[in-house]
């Protein structure tokens, strides 16, 4: 049909660009932070993203997987991905030596509504690998500190050895322009300097003004249940609770159907959804 215009090869939405792994920082067990740099200088300049967006990462020969961007767009030049080794693609990624080349496409997803969030208090609640997308947001808001009111981070890990970005986050404890609450479920050796207990206990230490607060939640499915309870208790409007959700994804661009939930696609309508969206989408959480 002549009335359709097709995109040229360069606009191929599935085309990964090559990027080099320039640094590998082991985090906790089975988690590593990969620092990537596009091979094409033009891509390096033009690749911009919002906190909360993700990329499709290809390990050549193995396959593709969606991964959140963990670095902040306020710190251009590097792209950091924090990956957990859990299946084929991630295992293959962990086998790659430094300086290997991988494929990247994106950024995809809606990302956090950072503009709408300006002039508000932010309550960031993370559990486990949920910190990966939230780290991007965290550094974004800290680098744009003046645009936001109070900033609270709550992050929980099972034990100290399992806390992602531990040293980076511990260094935030000294900051006076934010409240950083880090907790571990268990501290058998008694060496953990701050809070002990599940994340939800951290709510005891904070005041929340529901009128001007955005809560941002990301963590394992079980965490949502309890954190949401707390947030609703504090009267937070359902459409100001933001969550980053995970689904199976193949294309990342709303075609392959895998991440569809009800009438939304996690990849293009999400992965950031409000709690209100979630209640209206069966099976969402």
């Amino acid at each position: 049909m002549s009335n359709y215009s097709a995109k040229s090869g360069a606009d191929n939405i599935y085309q990964p660009s090559l990027a080099r792994i320039v640094r590998i920082l082991p985090q906790i067990k089975d988690h590593r932070l990969f620092e990537l740099r596009f091979e094409d200088p033009e891509m390096r300049r033009s690749f911009t993203y919002n906190p909360g967006q993700f990329v499709e990462l290809s390990v050549i020969g193995t396959g593709e997987a969606p991964v959140s961007i963990s670095s902040s767009p306020t710190r251009p030049g590097v792209l950091e991905l924090c990956v957990r080794k859990i299946g084929r693609v991630t295992e293959a990624l962990f086998r790659l030596p430094l300086n290997s080349v991988v494929g990247l496409r994106g950024p995809y997803g809606n990302g956090f509504p950072v503009e709408a969030m300006e002039r508000n208090n932010l309550l960031i609640v993370a559990g486990g690998l949920g910190m990966a997308p939230l780290r991007s947001l965290l550094w974004y808001v800290l680098d744009n500190r003046s645009k936001f009111k109070e900033i609270i981070l709550m992050f929980g890990a099972k034990i100290s050895e399992e806390m992602l970005f531990k040293f980076e986050l511990l260094s935030l404890l000294d900051r006076t322009d934010m409240k950083c609450l880090l907790t571990v479920d268990k501290d058998e050796e008694g060496t953990w300097p701050v809070q002990v207990g599940v994340v939800t206990r951290l709510f005891d230490f904070v005041e929340i003004d529901p009128e001007i607060t955005y809560a941002i939640v990301c963590g394992p499915p079980i965490m949502y249940k309890f954190v949401l309870e707390k947030l609703l208790e504090r009267n937070l409007p359902k459409d100001r609770i933001l969550m980053s959700l995970e689904r199976r994804m193949k294309c990342g661009v709303g075609k392959c159907g895998h991440c569809s939930v009800g009438y939304k696609y996690t990849c293009i309508d999400g992965p950031i959804f409000t709690y209100w969206d979630a209640i209206n989408l069966p099976e969402m959480i």
Binding site: S2, P16, G87, H258, G262
Partner: protein, 342 residues
């Protein structure tokens, strides 16, 4: 819209003339009751009086499996250069299937345009043909028994001739290239066309009511029907393969024997498959077969409506005909709508 008349005795000549516009594909008879779209080498094989083809025309635009990239560690990912640009003429497409393509167009366009799909779409001209519904068609209730656009020409069967609607400039070129084969439409033709058109509704044996359906589906989210269908469904994927509007696909990398280079391929997938919503670490968002059957119907009759303003079912009856377990979309929806069914 311009409408001309093609006497049936001129059909073969006309179709023959279309090869200038691309490789001709049309329905042929495969077996007693089965048809498929196939490349036509012998015009006499074309079967324009058919109920439905096993696979819908989507196979031409989103093939069951295709290579989207070739890769190597050195060069990265390169799209294959071959035959996306071949020209096709797809003859004999039913109204419902044209609607099916229009639905796929919605999905494959948007912010991200799938150029594999749209390049093929651009290179294929569509010639529709009218049909008589059989006992599994319910296109009327899905509002797809008539089609306004999405084709170049549309042939309406008038027994001795076809009335040919010309919808695009390309369609016009096709007609003009064999002008002498066509005649003007006269008064009698108009009367006959109206008569046939009025008769149409009498042919439908089944149908479903769309009014308020999304809300009813929401209300019946927990209906026991899903469990019942889950017991019957085999997760064989047949319904998704044959559906003109199902578009889920899987992507996988296939390596060559050097263990380095290979191809990234995609292939039709189905939300009825167990691992459709499985994520790494073993969490499955639709573990039960019942939740997967439910998902299929919800996505078509509820989710798609919210997203694009119409259901993604065109009433072609393919899934009804080919589901081995007789999971029947009309029956399911009818039960859901029924006041007595609880």
């Amino acid at each position: 819209m311009q409408i001309v008349k093609l006497p049936k005795e001129n059909l073969d000549k006309f179709v023959g003339s279309l090869s200038k516009f691309g490789e001709i594909h049309a329905p042929i008879k495969k077996d007693e009751n089965t048809y498929l779209f196939s490349k036509i080498e012998d015009l006499s094989k074309i079967e324009l009086n058919y109920n439905r083809t096993i696979l819908p025309p989507k196979k031409y635009f989103l093939p069951p499996t295709e290579t989207i990239f070739r890769f190597s560690p050195e060069k990265g990912y390169e799209p294959p250069k071959d035959n996306l640009n071949r020209k096709y003429v797809l003859l004999g497409v039913h109204s419902c299937d044209i609607h099916g393509l229009k639905i796929l167009d919605l999905v494959f366009s948007g912010t991200y345009v799938d150029n594999y799909y749209f390049t093929r779409r651009k290179n294929t001209s569509i010639i529709g043909v009218s049909c008589i519904p059989d006992d599994m068609c319910f296109c009327r209730s899905m509002e797809t028994d008539f089609v306004e656009d999405g084709f170049d020409l549309f042939l309406s069967d008038m027994d001795d001739s076809y009335l040919v609607r010309i919808a695009t400039s390309l369609g016009d070129d096709m007609v003009r290239a064999s002008q002498s084969l066509f005649k003007e439409v006269d008064k009698e033709d108009i009367a006959e066309y109206k008569r046939k058109s009025n008769e149409m509704k009498n042919y439908f044996k089944i149908g479903l009511e769309l009014y308020n359906l999304p809300e009813i589906m929401d209300l019946e989210y927990e209906s026991k029907i899903w469990g019942e269908m889950g017991e019957k469904c085999l997760s064989c994927g047949t319904c998704s393969m044959v559906c003109p509007t199902c578009y889920c696909y899987d992507v996988f990398d296939e390596l060559n024997l050097d263990g380095k280079t290979g191809e990234r391929r995609r292939r039709w997938d189905s939300c009825l498959f167990k691992d459709h919503a499985l994520v790494a670490g073993g969490l499955n968002f639709r573990k039960e077969r019942s939740s997967r059957v439910k998902n299929r119907y919800f996505h078509k009759q509820r989710g798609f409506v919210a997203q694009y303003g119409r259901p993604s079912c065109v009433g072609c009856g393919r899934c009804i005909q080919s589901c081995p377990a007789k999971v029947d979309i009309v029956e399911v929806i009818t039960k859901i709508r029924s006041v007595d069914y609880e």
